[in-house]
């Protein structure tokens, strides 16, 4: 078990993602960030803080996708996590979904469904801290902090200061 990313690497990755968001959208006028709880929500707030340092206030929200999961019947029911609409809503906006790890793509599929029920954004983009491969759906990220080749048996553990008291990304198990 070794840290693939440490605190400084995560900061650097998020800064790069922030600059890429500005570049791709040619400014931030219609950009809103939507984090997928739990850790995606913290990452969305961190990216918003970096964008603020760069001079723009970007609305941030969170989007719980539990009710749209396709694996609900395979596990015990899970508690719902908070959904918070960003100020100004998502209608006609460039929505950047933020999550910690991109794996099968099923979470993002569920997020796209959940998003469709809240409104109709102009574009939907995806930012992830780690892309670990093994996609099961035709989904890709627009912004990737770190591409991390893994075996399907391994799991990727993202820890964030806000809830885990440490910033790190590790590969666990083999």
């Amino acid at each position: 078990m070794s840290a693939i990313l440490e605190s400084a690497d995560i900061v650097r990755a998020l800064k790069r993602i922030s600059h890429e968001i500005i570049e791709k959208n040619q400014g931030l006028d219609s950009v809103v960030l939507l984090g997928i709880p739990t850790r995606g929500a913290y990452l969305a707030h961190r990216i918003a803080a970096i964008l603020k340092e760069l001079g723009s206030d970007v609305p941030v929200g969170t989007l719980d996708i539990t009710m749209h999961r396709d694996d609900l019947r395979m596990r015990p029911p899970r508690p719902l996590l908070p959904t918070v609409m960003p100020i100004g809503g998502i209608e006609g906006k460039d929505v950047v979904l933020v999550d910690d790890v991109l794996f099968s793509g099923r979470t993002i599929r569920a997020a796209l469904d959940a998003l469709g029920e809240l409104g109709r954004p102009k574009t939907v983009q995806l930012a992830v801290l780690v892309d670990r491969g093994h996609r099961e759906l035709p989904i890709r990220a627009d912004y990737v902090g770190k591409n991390l080749p893994t075996s399907a048996k391994e799991s990727v553990k993202v820890s964030l200061m806000e809830i885990d008291n440490i910033d790190s990304v590790e590969i666990v198990g083999a």
Binding site: D64, M67, H68, L72, R73, M74, R75, P76, P77, R78, P79, L80, L81, P82, T83, V84, D113, A114, G116, E117, L118, G119
Partner: protein, 316 residues
Amino acid sequence: MKNQLLSINDLSHSDVLSILSTAAELEKITDGPTKKLPTLRGRTVVNLFFEDSTRTRISFETAAKRLSADVINFSAKGSSVSKGESLKDTAQTLQAMGADAVVIRHGSSGAAQRLADSGWISATVINAGDGTHEHPTQALLDAFTISKRFPDRKGDLTGLKVAIVGDILHSRVARSNVLLLTKLGAHVTLIAPPTLLPVGVESWPVDVTYNMDESLELFDVVMMLRIQLERMTNFFIPSEREYSRRYGLNEDRLRRMKTDAIVMHPGPMNRGLEISASSADSGRSVIVDQVGNGVLTRMAVLYLLLGGVALTEDAK
């Protein structure tokens, strides 16, 4: 959480908090242009109603439909039950049709338990009122309504003073509410004439008084119960007029309540009997909120009971 909801006693304290917080989140995500969620797509919920009901049946039906479940409404009137079909045969028919959940309302206390324990049916059984026994989803929606009106408490009702007034004897709503509200830490007082209190009420974890006027100023919540005229086969009250004068909520009593106190009623109301029209429509009244909250609470219950794999299946 158990696979059934027959009584408030089936729920642990954390189950209750999980239902209430799920209902609160569901309110946020169904607030948008689309109220419908795909969560229970392909599941079948049967509303098995042996007694008349407007609110509860429509509420369960709406809740199930908002979660994309298929809903079959079955009422005893107009079905083979009126030809003398037994609960067992009815249950087996529903089983053969592949019901995932059965929401049962029945005039006999214990009917839901009987259905759940019988082995006639493998579906999740949800009690929507059995005789004078329990009505757990009503108590949950009442607790949700109270929590929303006192948001600073964050679901903890410790020390909250609740009065339940009226026909306690016949009220399954009162029984479920006493169990649930005391579980959440509230202090419950029952106010009723002696003829409308059940035998053994002294063993309940509540205060009991016959006099509505002695302590009205103390309560945060006043929950009025319907005088169940259809169950008044004996002489429980001298006259409706006398009952209304001694135990009815009128403007005078409304004025004496605490400034932030709320008025609740599970419906249907007998306006002018246990509650005056102006009390029912006053700013203190959360009676209409109770209906909307009922849908959210029942969605939460259906999601938590049907949304995941059942724990009993896990054990297999």
